[in-house]
């Protein structure tokens, strides 16, 4: 039905979609899922030829979407937008009748086919009773159903839904999901839906296209194939468990709440960072509820500003000064109270080399030390920092790739096993 070939798109040289290959089959329900800003809605615009791809193309039954002409496209595909402002008070029935534009040729009248399609669309979306109400008086959910009814009145083989059920109450959301499944089964309507609702998409779709935040396609397949913890973790950057809905068998993703990760008392963690290298760690550790201390850090450093916003205890040094003996002593005190040390992927210079000394001391006291993504490329001390990092690693410091892994490891309470 719709063939998408190596589709690339960019807004002002900012790439939005990279290399989408997709064949929407006649009579299937396909969901496009992904985080905010991953280009889901842009992909839908490219599908219907409103935008021109930077590279690649979209073919509808062999014809290029961009060259198809608006009227021909409107007879093939109807669009249900997320929402709209309604500045003009059209009665609901007239608004739905606008869906017939692509089928009309005369200039004023409407045919019996037009009227039948409109009444049917009003009936199946449960808004027949609103027929004469001006759309400006409707609630968000009612307006959303009017937009769906208008698309149904278009009587097209394909429906494109752009977050079309996000404003609806649970009952109407389920009802519309049912309606889509029924249209698909009975009339063979092809449905492409962009959605935020992972579970409902998994329930109703035959296939799912999962887009990563940078617009690359991550997975394409049946809901069970796509809904794996590793796919969802990669795309949404949260830890999920996937189980199947006991009533329908569809896969369901359950986010694992990090806030509950600390079973009893939150741990006390000291963080070495600077120049913004610790930003994400600070934020995530703070949100996870740990008791965080930081330093040594120069006043005005990006990480210091963040730490002061979170009101974290910090070993402070004046701006642009090397770390003084007194500040180092404060930091040592903080390290002594910590249950674990985390070394952010920061740049190492003569100014902060002393931090690594503190880490080595801590390790000798059997305090666990986590080295986040250590690299020789960030060493500006002529190899001394890299040498120390390697020594810490050799003495039992654990190397971890990212913030996620730090949280994972800390959940297992490494300090307790070390104590024994």
């Amino acid at each position: 039905m719709i063939a998408v070939e190596n589709l690339h798109f960019a807004y002002d040289n900012e790439p939005v979609l990279r290399g989408i290959d997709l064949e929407v089959k006649r009579g299937e329900i396909l969901a496009i899922l992904g985080p905010n800003g991953c280009g889901k809605s842009t992909l839908l615009r490219l599908l219907r030829g409103v935008l021109t791809p930077a590279e690649g193309r979209v073919l509808w039954q062999g014809r290029d979407a961009v060259r198809l002409g608006r009227k021909a496209m409107a007879r093939l595909a109807a669009v249900v937008p997320q929402s709209m402002q309604a500045p003009f008070p059209y009665p609901v029935r007239e608004m739905v009748a606008m869906g017939r534009y692509a089928h009309q040729s005369g200039f004023l009248g409407s045919t019996s086919a037009d009227r039948k399609a409109v009444e049917k669309a009003l009936a199946v979306t449960d808004i027949l009773h609103l027929g004469k109400r001006p759309v400006t008086d409707l609630s968000g959910g009612e307006l959303q159903r009017v937009l769906l009814a208008r698309a149904l009145a278009q009587e097209t083989p394909v429906l494109l839904l752009d977050e079309a059920t996000s404003h609806l109450d649970l009952d109407h959301r389920l009802e519309i999901a049912e309606l889509l499944v029924r249209l698909n089964r009975e009339q063979g309507t092809t449905v492409v839906q962009v959605s935020h609702d992972l579970d409902l998409a998994a329930e109703t779709s035959h296939r799912i296209l999962l887009l990563a935040a940078d617009g690359t396609p991550t997975a394409l397949g049946s809901p069970t194939e796509v809904f794996t913890p590793s796919n969802l973790r990669q795309v949404f950057r949260v830890e999920v468990k996937v189980e199947s809905n006991p009533y329908t068998g569809a896969p369901r993703a359950y986010p694992v709440r990090r806030g509950n990760a600390w079973q009893q008392k939150p741990p006390r963690i000291h963080l070495f960072c600077g120049g913004g290298s610790g930003g994400e760690l600070l934020r995530r550790l703070h949100l996870a509820g740990g008791e965080i201390t930081v330093g040594p850090l120069n006043r005005g450093d990006y990480d210091q500003v963040l730490a002061s916003v979170f009101e974290l205890e910090t070993a402070l040094e004046e701006p642009f000064c090397p770390i003084s003996a007194a500040t180092l002593q404060t930091a040592r005190g903080l390290c002594r109270q910590a249950e674990a040390l985390v070394v952010a992927p920061t740049v190492w210079g003569p100014g902060n080399l002393a931090s690594l000394e503190l880490a080595r001391e801590a390790l000798s006291r059997r305090i666990p030390v986590l080295l986040v993504d250590p690299s020789a490329e960030r060493d500006y001390t002529g190899g001394r920092a890299w040498e120390m990092l390697q020594a810490i690693h050799a003495a039992g410091g654990r190397v971890v790739p990212d913030t996620e892994a730090v949280l994972d490891l800390l959940k297992d309470k490494p300090w307790e096993s070390n104590d024994r």
Partner: protein, 330 residues
């Protein structure tokens, strides 16, 4: 059932039109009783003076007011839909100013035929319209940018128009007042059929695009999804609404706010659907301008106020009310 209900505007507005016509024939510096008026209209004039004044002076003038009012009312309704902006009006958008400039430029060059003058006004109207649209397009979604650039283009057109008039040998103040304040007493009655032809054709052209206007109110992306070729359709709508404005301005100068108030009133009472809104706005616009003209002739009789002053006195407060209402709603 719905059809009859939705046509309820027709008898009401036709009645209003005839009432305004009678008012316009009756009002003026020469007072006339209603019986005398009806006798004159039925072909049994009570005196030859009455016949001359009513049929040779007041009737053509009333018909001109009706044509101009109809053109402005319908084009205002169209502009509000295409631009999705309830504050749009040919006068506020600077389209009338551009049309007046075009007409005056043609007059300065010495052509004043009833076909060429509206054509020159049309060129000026389109120029102003595309300038305003081009500026406002850079700030999509901001209705006030459109209005602001319209007002500026209108001022620019007025300044250029005054410049042309001051260069010309004719009495500049008198003609300037005609163009800038709007007036219904300068046109040769022989031009009426031509004005009717021009306005009639443009109106039918606009009315045929009622469905496209309905779609434009939904936003351009939605309109395209519903099957409208937005670019071509907008061009055509601008051209026809611009032609209506141009004809009105070429006949009567800058008469403001008719295109703002009339479609609003129609929409409030009978709804926004354009296959009804356009003819209803034309009828109400015609009635409104005939009544305003009658008022302009009687308020300071025997002196006459330019009719544009009367419409602005009625319309500008309405504009402020709309502006205030929109601000409050946001």
């Amino acid at each position: 059932m719905t059809r009859r209900q939705s046509l309820s505007w027709l008898p009401i507005l036709v009645t209003a039109l005839f009432a305004a016509l009678l008012l316009s024939l009756w009002a003026g510096s020469l007072s006339l009783s209603l019986t005398e008026l009806f006798a004159t209209l039925c072909g049994h004039p009570t005196s030859p003076t009455h016949a001359a004044i009513v049929l040779k002076i007041r009737l053509p003038r009333a018909l001109l007011a009706a044509l101009v009012g109809a053109a402005l009312g319908a084009s205002g309704g169209a502009f509000q839909a295409v631009l999705r902006n309830p504050l749009a009006d040919p006068y506020i958008l600077g389209v009338s100013g551009g049309a007046a400039l075009g007409a005056v430029a043609a007059l300065t060059l010495g052509c004043s035929s009833p076909l060429l003058l509206p054509a020159a006004a049309f060129v000026g109207a389109c120029g102003a319209l595309f300038l305003v649209y081009w500026v406002a397009q850079a700030h999509r979604g901001s209705p006030h940018t459109l209005i602001l650039s319209g007002v500026m283009v209108g001022s620019l057109a007025s300044a250029l128009l005054l410049f042309l008039l001051w260069m010309s040998p004719a009495d500049p103040v008198r003609t300037a007042v005609f163009w800038l304040a709007g007036n219904l007493n300068m046109v040769d009655p022989d031009w009426l059929p031509w004005a009717a032809l021009w306005i009639g054709c443009a109106f039918v052209g606009l009315w045929r695009q009622s469905r496209a206007l309905d779609l434009f109110t939904q936003g351009e992306e939605v309109a395209a999804d519903l099957g409208l070729n937005v670019g071509a359709s907008r061009l055509l709508l601008f051209a026809t609404a611009g032609a209506l404005t141009a004809a009105a301005v070429a006949m009567a100068g800058l008469v403001g706010f008719v295109g703002l108030t009339v479609p609003h009133v129609v929409r409030m009472i009978w709804g926004p659907s354009h296959r009804h809104l356009l003819p209803a706005s034309a009828l109400l616009g015609a009635a409104f301008l005939m009544a305003a003209d009658a008022l302009s002739r009687t308020l300071l009789a025997p002196a006459e106020i330019p009719v544009g002053v009367v419409t602005a006195l009625l319309g500008a407060p309405f504009f402020l009310y709309l502006l205030r209402k929109r601000e409050g709603g946001q």
